[in-house]
């Protein structure tokens, strides 16, 4: 008889489901969907206000993806990191899938939440901000730990939000990329750069091992 390597209960649950549960991913995905739904409602409400037009959707395009990436970022926390690292299989493809799948979902949801007006704050801007902020969050997870990974992007967005000039011009399209309208090349370059760098860093290093204190 072959030795029983896997507990019967575990076999029934399946490693994927266990993985999802250990990372609290169901909760994170639910938060993500709720955020997108709330964002869609807020965008409609903002546009419906007197004296406001479609450009009033800027807060949704900035803060919605920020919250969605916070949900993704906090789900990167590994409760038994040292145990995980003893596994035989390489972790980086799993980490990459864990990061990219919710990001794709968030990008699609936010693109649907702010339809139309691609030249201003429509689907392209929402997708760009989702990708860019996911990159920043994933990078932060690798550097400061997953549970606090929302703080660097939140600090960045908070600082840039009022400081950005109202017209897209000059250097602002680089440093205030989250505030730019959809088509700006500079903003897309920075966002995609942040996305690639953050994702690679996270896939390579994983979330920083933190003690229970942080």
């Amino acid at each position: 008889m072959r030795p029983l390597l896997v507990e019967p209960g575990l076999r029934r649950t399946g490693p994927l489901r266990l993985y999802l549960r250990s990372r609290a991913l169901p909760g994170a995905l639910a938060a993500l969907v709720c955020t997108a739904a709330f964002g869609a409602g807020a965008a409609r409400w903002l546009v419906s206000l007197p004296d406001f037009d479609h450009t009033a959707r800027l807060p949704v395009v900035v803060f919605g993806p920020l919250l969605a990436t916070a949900a993704i970022g906090t789900s990167l926390y590994a409760p038994c990191d040292e145990l995980d690292r003893t596994a035989v299989r390489a972790w980086w493809p799993r980490r990459l899938v864990h990061l990219l799948a919710p990001t794709a979902l968030a990008a699609v949801l936010f693109a649907l939440a702010v339809p139309g007006h691609t030249e201003a704050f429509g689907p392209p801007a929402a997708v760009r901000n989702t990708l860019g902020l996911t990159g920043v969050t994933a990078g932060a997870a690798a550097l400061v730990g997953a549970r606090l990974s929302w703080l660097p992007p939140a600090f960045f967005v908070g600082t840039v939000y009022l400081a950005a000039p109202s017209r897209p011009e000059g250097a602002a399209q680089w440093w205030a990329w989250v505030m730019q309208p959809g088509p700006g090349t500079g903003a897309w370059t920075v966002a995609l750069g942040a996305f690639v760098a953050g994702s690679v860093l996270y896939a390579w290093r994983g979330a920083r091992r933190t003690t229970a204190e942080s």
């Binding site: 609290a24 909760g27 994170a28 938060a31 807020a42 903002l46 206000l49 406001f52 807060p59 803060f63 920020l66 919250l67 916070a70 949900a71 906090t74 789900s75 926390y77 549970r147 606090l148 929302w150 703080l151 939140a154 600090f155 908070g158 600082t159 939000y161 009022l162 400081a163 950005a164 000039p165 229970a212 204190e213 942080s214």
Partner: protein, 441 residues
């Protein structure tokens, strides 16, 4: 059997030489970083908008107020929430329960970094921005009481966040609280209800107003009362003492009542005649700015000098250029464009643009329906453009195309000074809305 003597009781709770728990709490962990983050957030936002606020106390105070409410507030909420969940993450809650100190006292020490550091960071940013404004302002005072109310509001948000962090065990609690805190604080700027003056981010744009004296202290009581009530409701043990938390809540609600009775549009802001008092130079025509912009008077007079030299002594020319909330009050007064748009740090950024807007304001008339029509209407509008461009050419980067008016402009420039004065007098005398009477140069 021997019994060891009981250790002598000391009055000090901590061994001599050890820092007090409060100092340790304040120095370690997220607290100092929160203070730095709040200060940096406010300072960087203010730096980005520096040309807009560095000339007037009210502009500086208003933007500091909005930045504190909208950005420092949610950041403090999130940081407080994170700090509040610390003992749970460390799994030291049981250890704390074994400490022979009442929960309320432990809570007071634990909440200190969430409250004091953001307040200190905001205070630092306020001081830096006010010092940066000081050299360029002419009149009035910074509304320090409003800034103090902001500091209290941010501290209160830190305490509320801390309590939420203790109660809610979810990794996403802190960022969620931050973003929804932002939504809650920002929603006031989208609505017109009186309730928006309860929030710490309510905005009012008028440089000639000041808040009623009681608004800032009452706002402080409102914010502090809410926070204290939450802290007491969480920290008072045994449970029969909990109703005491209703006391600060009642005080907060009582403080909210007069705020809710404020007018919805202007809220606590009332016109201040001292700030709107006209300050004039002794030129002809006189240039009058409000006391708030007194430092700009020489600059504005210099910008208008070429125009004034042409207008001086002409019949129908303005007697005074006036700016401010009251507008033209005497016959012969002509309104000046707002200097706030064109001035930065006590200087006019674009004197040529300012002169150009002054000329368009001088000749602007409101025509009734049916007027300004007829066969000569198009020619009259070209003449209007030509006169404006002759007196003050629009800067090249502002997109006005004077090609159609160029022949008239050339003719006006070619005239002798006496003929130019004669034409300008005839132009001023003509009714702008009657195309047939507009003289062709």
């Amino acid at each position: 059997m021997t019994t060891s003597p009981a250790p002598p009781r000391t009055r000090r709770a901590t061994p001599p030489g050890a820092p007090s728990p409060l100092v340790t709490e304040l120095r370690r962990g997220l607290g100092p970083w929160t203070g730095v983050a709040v200060a940096l957030t406010v300072l960087l936002s203010m730096y980005g908008k520096a040309p807009d606020w560095q000339s007037r106390w009210s502009d500086a105070t208003q933007l500091l107020h909005v930045t504190a409410g909208l950005l420092a507030g949610p950041l403090t909420l999130a940081a407080g929430c994170w700090q509040g969940g610390r003992d749970r993450r460390r799994r030291t809650t049981d250890l704390w329960e074994s400490v022979p100190r009442p929960l309320l006292r432990r809570l007071a020490v634990a909440v200190a970094p969430s409250v004091l550091w953001p307040a200190a960071g905001l205070l630092l940013a306020d001081v830096v921005c006010l010092l940066a404004t000081w050299p360029y302002v002419s009149e009035g005072r910074p509304f320090l009481e409003l800034l103090a109310a902001d500091v209290v509001a941010v501290a209160a948000l830190g305490a509320l966040g801390h309590v939420v962090g203790r109660l809610v065990r979810w990794r996403l609690a802190a960022p969620l609280l931050g973003v929804f805190g932002y939504v809650g604080l920002a929603i006031g700027s989208y609505t017109e209800s009186a309730a928006r003056w309860l929030g710490p981010a309510s905005e009012h744009q008028s440089v000639w107003d000041r808040p009623v004296w009681w608004f800032a202290p009452v706002s402080m009581v409102w914010a502090a009362g809410l926070a204290l009530s939450a802290l007491l409701a969480y920290g008072l043990r045994p449970a029969r003492l909990r109703p005491l938390a209703l006391l600060p809540l009642a005080v907060a609600v009582a403080a909210a009542a007069p705020i809710l009775r404020l007018p919805t549009d202007t809220g606590p802001w009332r016109p201040d005649p001292a700030l709107a008092r006209p300050v004039c130079d002794d030129g002809t025509p006189q240039v009058c700015l409000t006391a708030v912009d007194r430092a700009l008077l020489p600059e504005v007079a210099a910008a208008l000098a070429p125009l004034n030299s042409r207008l001086r002594g002409l019949p129908g020319a303005p007697v005074r250029w006036v700016s401010g909330p009251y507008g033209p009050t005497r016959p012969g007064d002509v309104e000046l464009p707002d200097t706030g748009q064109d001035a930065t740090r006590g200087r006019l950024t674009r004197p040529d643009l300012y002169l150009n807007s002054a000329v368009s304001w001088l000749f602007s008339t409101t025509c009734r329906p049916g007027e300004n029509t007829g066969p000569n209407a198009e020619r009259a509008s070209v003449v209007h453009l030509a006169v404006s461009e002759w007196l003050a050419p629009t800067p090249a980067d502002y997109g006005v195309d004077p090609t159609a008016a160029q022949p008239y402009i050339d003719r006006l420039r070619a005239k002798s000074p006496a003929a130019q004065r004669d034409y300008l007098a005839r132009y001023l005398a003509a009714k702008g809305c009657d195309p047939d009477k507009v003289p062709v140069p």
